[in-house]
């Protein structure tokens, strides 16, 4: 997303805008110190020590008879300047090395890691004190040393993210298309790390500012230079005599730190949250209005029947954006219905509506969904949940990301059966074995003990189908179940679906963009475009004599062998599948 949009998003967030304004104000005040302050921060008139606020000295005088306002403003220069210095050093040392180490790995990575471990194991206090003894009691010296000491946190952050991202598809693709490493880092990798870096920057700035105060408190200070830390310490030394001295430096320090953290949070939200976060209206969710579609006259199927379904997402400004506009669908037992359309046509939203699992902010605004004749649109979460697993099941598109990496295959298969069917550990294990058998996984006993990262994509998809079938559902909702698989595995999985339909009378809502898949397994097809069903019929009808121009375009595209979907997509853009 562009910097401009990020900025707007940050500012639109009330806390983000407020803290940005506050920081700007503080920085401006500090920069304009010579204009605002009536006197030099060091000018002292001891006879006026501890004097309260007056016209000349709006914040009063400190223990040495110095103008508190002047010291806050000039002190801010040293304090914030020092924090900037620490940051600059930490960023300069940590980020480039982290990028290279994470991207290249190898010897540089080992050497850098070793150095970082060394720096992190150094006792910071000893190093700070010793450097001070060597280089002199100057706040800048302390900040430079601090910068070096916190650089590892940037290094680790960046290195970790980059190492993760290195293997991602889109970086590979960029490599294939012949971009130089530098350009890949600049274009793709930096984009990924900037969010976390910004947050870390705010935290480190806060630490630097707080540390100045802490060191002053320990008597390891900045000499005679005014800093907020020094002022706070001076106030502490006179806390009995004049407790109010603590107010202004405390406020300056506290507010700056608050603003930094809040701003960092807002920036993170802006960078990471592509979906607008609506005000959550858990309880007051309006029930969908009844369908008003003209097609609603058609007889409704026993297993799944959708009439006039509309789905909308709340926008931050409170209005709704409708993405599905009145969809009608029917799935009968023992029937596979293909729901076909391009990305963004609304087919996945339709599928999620049936499951009651629309992503945050989305909701069914109109229409009716019946499962086994029971209305589920607007059903309470708890009741909807009771349907999932035993009546409705779901097979996702991307096999790997849909298995919890932290648990074994066995544990993930046993969990629903233990929960729904109340089986004991041993029976559940038997059932899991049986399920793996059902989806034709060789050596089920070994597979049960494996973790998701230890199996192949095709195997993972079978495991997901096994998981979906574990409680013997009546309707399987499969969202592009074969897209991520290679052709041979794809055919096997489709065979499996067909078999399940035939042997168990399973109804399947198969969401796909792939007309080949449709031709292979579907009994009937619904074609979706821009949130509407444009055509419904048997597979033969639709593929053989399409009536709708859009269906014809789709078919033509298959014949041209053009990919219906881009070969790779940055992960960010995948968060919302529509």
């Amino acid at each position: 997303m562009s910097t401009g949009r990020t900025l707007r998003r940050v500012l639109r967030n009330p806390l983000g805008g407020l803290s940005a304004a506050l920081l700007l104000l503080i920085v401006a005040a500090v920069l304009l110190a010579p204009v605002i302050a009536s006197q030099d921060p060091g000018a002292s008139s001891l006879s006026e020590a501890f004097a309260g606020p007056s016209g000349d000295h709006p914040l009063g005088m400190d223990s040495a008879g110095r103008d508190i306002l002047a010291r806050i403003l000039y002190g801010g220069r040293t304090t914030l300047g020092g924090a900037l210095l620490a940051l600059a050093i930490a960023l300069a040392l940590g980020v480039p090395t982290g990028l290279v180490a994470g991207y290249r790995g190898g010897r540089f990575d080992s050497a850098a890691n070793w150095t970082v471990n060394l720096v992190m194991a150094l006792p910071a206090m000893v190093v700070l004190l010793a450097s001070r003894a060597i280089l002199g009691p100057d706040v800048h010296v302390l900040m430079i040393v601090l910068g070096v000491l916190v650089a590892p946190s940037f290094f680790r952050l960046v290195r970790g993210i980059v190492a993760n991202v290195r293997g991602e598809l889109y970086v590979d693709a960029a490599k294939v298309s012949g971009l130089s490493d530098t350009r890949i880092i600049a274009r793709h990798v930096l984009t990924v790390v900037r969010g976390p870096i910004i947050i870390q920057v705010a935290l480190v700035a806060g630490i630097a500012i707080a540390l100045q105060a802490g060191l002053e408190f320990l008597g390891v200070g900045s000499g005679s230079t005014a800093t907020w830390g020094a002022m706070l310490n001076e106030a502490f030394q006179n806390i009995q005599r004049a407790p109010r001295l603590i107010l202004w430096p405390g406020l300056a320090l506290g507010l700056t730190n608050c603003a930094l953290v809040l701003l960092a949070g807002a920036v993170r939200d802006a960078l990471e949250d592509q979906t607008p976060r609506p005000a959550r209206r858990r309880r007051a969710r309006p029930a969908p209005e009844p369908a008003e579609s003209a097609d609603s006259a058609a007889p409704r199927a026993a297993l799944l029947s959708v009439r006039g379904l509309t789905v909308a997402y709340a926008r931050p400004d409170g209005t709704d954006k409708e993405v599905v506009h009145g969809v009608d669908l029917d799935v009968r037992p023992g029937e596979i219905l293909g729901l076909v359309g391009e990305s963004g046509s609304g087919k996945t939203q339709t599928a999620f509506s049936v499951l009651g699992l629309l992503p945050e902010g989305g909701r069914v605004t109109r229409g009716s969904i019946t499962v086994n004749g029971r209305e589920t649109a607007g059903l309470r979460e708890r009741d909807h949940r009771a349907l999932r697993g035993r009546t409705l099941a779901y097979v996702p598109q991307e096999p790997m990301s849909n298995l919890d990496p932290a648990f074994t295959i066995g544990s993930q298969l046993m969990e629903p059966v233990r929960h729904h069917l109340g089986l004991g550990r041993k029976e559940a294990a038997d059932k899991a074995r049986e399920l793996l058998h059902l989806v034709e996984i060789p050596d089920p006993d070994r597979t049960l003990r494996l973790y998701p990262h230890e199996i192949s994509g095709g195997m993972a998809q079978r495991v997901l189908i096994a998981g979906a079938m574990s409680c013997d559902p009546e309707l399987l909702i499969a969202d592009e179940p074969t897209t991520a698989l290679d052709v041979r595995v794809q055919a096997e999985v489709l065979d499996l679906l067909r078999r399940l339909r035939d042997e168990r009378g399973l109804g399947v809502l198969l969401v796909t963009h792939n007309l080949g898949v449709v031709a292979d397994v579907c009994d009937r097809v619904a074609v979706m475009n821009a949130g509407r069903i444009v055509e419904t019929g048997t597979t033969e009808q639709i593929l053989g004599s399409p009536r709708d121009p859009y269906t014809r375009t789709l078919l033509a595209a298959v014949l041209d062998d053009a990919p219906a979907r881009a070969p790779w997509q940055p992960r960010e853009a995948r968060t919302v599948t529509a």
Binding site: G42, A43, S44, S45, L46, S47, A49, F50, D62, S63, A64, G65, R66, R132, A133, G136, P137, L218, G219, V220, G221, G223, S224, A230, E234, Q237, N238, I239, Q240, R241
Partner: protein, 511 residues
Amino acid sequence: MSRTARTASVAACVAASLALAGCAGESGGAAGTGSSTLNIATMTLPQSLDPAVATGSALPYFQAVYDTLIKREPDGTFSPMLATEWTYDKTRTHLALTLRKDVKFADGTAFDGAAVKANMERFQKGGGASAKWLADLKAVDVTDATHVTLELAQPNPAMEFYLSDAPGLMANPKRFAKADSLKTTPDGTGPYRLDKTRTTVGTKWSYARNPDYWGKELPYKNITISFFDNETAITNGLKTGQINAALLQTSDQQIAVESDPKVKTEKQEFDFQGLLLFDRDGRITPALRDPRVRQALNYAVDRDTMLDRIRQNRGRTTSQVFGPETQAYDKKLDTYYAHDPAKAKSLLKQAGYAKGFTLKLPRITAIVNDALAASLQSDFKAIGVKLVWDTLDGASAVQKVFKDRQYSGMVMNMGQSTSDWAAADELVTPGAFNMFGTTDKVTRKLLPALKAGNEAEAKSAARELNHHLVEDAWFLPFYRMSYLHVSDGTVKISPQSGMAVPSIYNYAPAK
């Protein structure tokens, strides 16, 4: 103890400049009437419990386990302890001591003349911070078990004082063969023994009453001395009764305890704070060679405001370095230099420095806080003198000031000895605090008289010397600071004359 102990404690303080307060910290304590343990808090650490390295500021740690030859009472007078009598000969170079005969160390070794000789010779050569106090000791002649004579190279009026301080501490001579063992396992004849199981060297020392003590037992069965590195913790401990007695130096903590009705306080003026001008020969800052310049600096400083704002009026302004208990003290000299910038300016003009000069001084923030630093700067600026502070760490300050002699002076907190000679010796005799060795006709004449003269001669020499130092502006004293001996209400503390820290004998349950 005052002077040199003070010196050592300034050094220690300078070193541990992290302490919130200025130097000098010791503490006194009191025990609960019901409780049999006296908990004293202190900000001073002993280097070890070997008397060879004992210093005045850490004396209470030693007094618990070791007796001194002479006891120093709270008012500064001397009374018998391990020595029952002591007399000088006419030349004041032979000091004859009569020793107690019933005193034994824990292992049964008798305390006798040989022990005195062994201890004093060991102290003299032991390399401790106070070893130089025995520089004038030529020999220790053991007449018999209960009689020894100290032979001095020259008269030393402070000898009795020394014998009541670190050099007078007597350890079991049998332990000298394995010298290091005394460091953590003291062996003396004192009223307490170190309870090693409950002692954590470096943070807390526990002493239990010595069942075989020869003298009158002290009121507390147990004494603990705990080390703290800041007065805030001490103040809070006093308020909750976890600490029975302590000394508070900073005015803010003094205010903090006074607000508590239970807490009992006892004021004592011991340290003075001032700028010691070392550079009276003008080696670093040529201007300082002219007495008029030094006088001008004295007139420039607004002592009353400083005392009021920096110490909340806790103390007394002064222009002299001698304390009120000395013979040299003259009340009139306290106000000799009143704040008078105009006079200061004209003095500078007469001296040829109408345009002023730059004075660079070291600053240890534990001693020179912001208010003091800023006010001296603006007071000097008012007469055209530019004061530049060089902020130093405690450890490097000692080095730069006293070894490298980089500065013309230094603001210090100095203990005020009750002994005229001790005070004069520390500040006027060429040495650490007269590091450039300034002398003049008057000091050359008066110092020997003060040291070797009879009482009357010494007294007049002292007074004359004091007047000379003030008028010639050898120093720039600001004020004597009042410290507060604080107890949680259960202890009566008797301040020790000439010592910031009360002796271990000065605590008793409050009635």
